[in-house]
Symmetry: C2
Subunit: 173 residues, 2 copies
């Protein structure tokens, strides 16, 4: 049966260091945050970090440092990352779009008068992550938000098609 | 097999009068809009108007007159409608929340410092409609947006639970 999961936010802030460590640590993490807890946010990070080949992101607002760290790690591991975003929100306080570009990740942005308001990701053309959640700390830690995670092809396929259409439509070349 | 559908916006504006007519008209509609077209918006309205018993709405921004008209029609037909919304966006230009309240529909709003950012509806505790789309004309006619429609209980159940929790948490009594 294909994966189907719903995550609700906000969530409490917990340590996420272990998600970025390829090998278990010898000594425990000394930071002040709670450790060893599974939260909607650790689930979201785990699903993202499960990408092995491709990651297609279509995100209205992207300022979360932790989510940016996950995307940069995937990029360093050789995952082909593409990022589509909204032109007005690229420049918001703490936007991570510049960091992604600097790391060499392909970024395109909508140029029309309206918003590119999607908030979805597709990993390996197989796993869809979509919902109301923008990739910001306020959304994760403050707002009431939802994220659906699914491998059901009836949902994944249309989103892949939408991504390719928007990606081609916003080719700067 | 349970219903699974993905709708993408923006969409062109077409006549929606036929969706609100219980019986086929004798004479054709004379308005200037295109007629007889199925669009993501007519699909969305059809799914909403399929409610027979209950409609639970959890919507950050609700200013679409057409969607309001659909909700008011359901209310008049005896469907028990509950509306949860965000306090900051209740007062936006053209918000329909006042009209819903005036018609006698139960409305509650989040009172915290953060946003109630969901945009979902559940009809008859059976059909989930959720995505990035706020219920505004700009979202429907301008933005790049998505809406998932599904009867898959793996998705519907968690959203029902979330609705009941937020509904109880925002009881003004
Ligand atoms: Zn730690
Ligand atoms: Zn007409």
């Amino acid at each position: 049966r294909p994966l189907k999961e719903v995550l609700f936010f906000p969530t409490t802030v917990t340590c996420i260091e272990h998600l970025f460590q390829p090998h278990p640590r010898v000594s425990p993490c000394l930071c002040r945050l709670p450790h060893g807890l599974e939260t909607p946010f650790t689930r979201l990070l785990r699903h993202l970090l499960s990408a092995r080949f491709t990651l297609d992101l279509c995100i209205f607002a992207f300022s979360s440092q932790e989510l940016c760290r996950a995307v940069l790690l995937l990029h360093r591991q050789g995952v082909v990352v593409r990022v589509l975003t909204d032109k007005d929100y690229m420049a918001i306080d703490g936007s991570q779009i510049g960091s992604l570009r600097k790391a060499g990740i392909a970024v395109r942005h909508e140029t029309g008068d309206f918003h590119m308001h999607h908030k979805f990701a597709v990993a390996d053309r197989r796993l869809l992550i979509t919902g109301s959640l923008n990739w910001t700390a306020t959304a994760v830690q403050g707002n009431k938000e939802n994220v659906l995670v699914t491998e059901d092809a009836a949902f994944v396929r249309p989103f892949l098609r939408e991504f390719e259409e928007l990606w081609d439509a916003n080719d700067p070349a």
